[in-house]
């Protein structure tokens, strides 16, 4: 089928998760994790301190005075409602700011590199519309350049994550979700699907390779030289569930493939809204149409027209 370049060799990528962030998004998530944990200690620690003391003092035979009818105290009451309320106010503010600022849909800078991600059973297909190349189970990104991932699924719902770069987002058939990220370190980072989707789920991971801008350019050149291309028929061949052992690189792919895949599930939705510049289909109409993915959609190849 398609060739494999030396660059695409799989290797043991570090999987230390977002504890070792390699980009600002994951870093922000880690630091938010720290903030919230630290704030929570305000109410956790008192329990760990007070409980042993209370047990010591008021155990049967302990020094504390026995007050069987004591059941209320306004001061304490204020404390046990007041402190959590204040804390939630603080936590809530932090949550609000962090969430709005780090909406995964928010572009992280001008001129992002757009990669279209199609989740399949049990592999990910990546399309680089700007570069005109495509990969299977290998995501190559330039360091320090904003990246916009557009995701959809050709099968069941999946969840896409590269923990060291950014958190996850679902990919669903007939829909498009987005994830923006920047990598500020080079290296190989594991990405994977986290939403169970059958027998091959455990091994559905891929390598994210972050390289310098120059290396990225030369990788693109090298990729373009790959003999294999991806058209609708090739895409169809990817649909049956399978695990990919070696990443695959395609030197070219049918433009508009991503939208056609969405349209095969949700006709009338794709293209209609924001006018995609990618013209649908350069080959014959029949070839451009991603053939119906599954029996239920057998009547929806109209997207090809």
């Amino acid at each position: 089928m398609a060739g494999v370049t030396a660059l695409a060799m799989p290797c043991a990528a570090s999987a230390a998760g977002f504890l070792e962030p390699a980009g600002p998004v994951a870093a922000a998530q880690l630091s938010h994790f720290g903030t919230i944990s630290a704030l929570m200690l305000i109410v956790i620690v008192p329990m760990f301190v007070a409980l042993p003391l209370v047990l010591l003092r008021y155990r049967r035979g302990g020094k504390g005075t026995y007050r069987p009818d004591w059941e209320f105290n306004w001061g304490l009451e204020l404390l046990i409602w007041g402190i959590p309320v204040a804390l939630v106010a603080a936590l809530g503010t932090a949550l609000w700011n962090h969430t709005l600022k780090n909406d995964p849909y928010r572009p992280l800078g001008p001129a992002p590199l757009v990669v279209e991600v199609i989740a399949l059973d049990w592999k990910f297909l990546f399309l680089y519309p700007e570069q005109g190349v495509a990969t299977l189970d290998l995501l190559v990104l330039p360091k320090d350049r904003p990246v916009t991932l557009k995701l959809t699924s050709g099968t069941v719902m999946q969840s896409f994550i590269v923990p060291r770069l950014a958190g996850q987002i679902y990919a669903m058939a007939g829909m498009q979700t987005q994830l923006n990220l920047i990598a500020d370190a080079t290296g190989d980072f594991t990405g994977r699907n986290t939403q169970y989707n059958g027998l091959g789920f455990a091994t559905q991971s891929f390598t994210t390779r972050v390289v310098s801008a120059e290396d990225f350019a030369s990788w693109v050149t090298g990729a373009k030289a790959q003999p294999a291309g991806l058209d609708a028929a090739g895409y169809k061949a990817l649909l049956p569930p399978s695990v990919v052992n070696e990443p695959v690189i395609y030197g070219r792919f049918t433009p508009g493939l991503f939208d056609q895949i969405i349209a095969s599930f949700a006709p009338g939705m794709a293209g209609g809204h924001q006018g995609h510049e990618a013209p649908a289909g350069t080959g014959t109409p029949a070839a451009a149409a991603p053939a119906a993915a599954h029996q239920h959609d057998a009547h929806t190849p109209e997207a090809a027209q």
Binding site: K150, T152, M172, M175, Q176, M269
Partner: protein, 114 residues
């Protein structure tokens, strides 16, 4: 007159058939008016777009209240309060579930169109 009410029951405590029958008739008349009204709004195109939706929604809510009041005899004055509260609590749950669902699904829909 009711047949099993103890003879010594004060008059004010006895349910009055005429009163209750009137309640059903009022309910029917109001419901007919409201339903026909709603139907007319659409049939004769009395309002358009959002105004029509708002008017229809309002009519439906009013009619639901009419049914509860005149057919189901829900009565804020004389009911056992605790019981009624549990029933009214349903309205809160309904609102949360329905509005939440619609809000979430529309928001997702808007964000997921390519």
């Amino acid at each position: 007159m009711s047949n099993r009410a103890p003879a010594n029951l004060p008059a004010s405590d006895i349910e009055d058939e005429g009163h209750e029958r009137r309640s059903y008739v009022i309910g029917l008349v109001l419901a007919l008016v409201l339903t026909t009204g709603a139907f007319a709004v659409v049939w004769f195109d009395l309002f358009s777009g959002a105004a029509a939706l708002a008017a229809l929604g309002l009519l439906a809510v009013v009619q639901a209240v009419v049914h509860l009041r005149y057919f189901l005899h829900i009565d804020l004055q004389r009911s056992h309060r605790d019981d009624l509260l549990l029933i009214l609590f349903t309205v809160l749950i309904l609102l949360i579930m329905v509005s939440g669902t619609i809000w979430i699904l529309y928001d997702q829909h808007m964000r997921m169109m390519p």
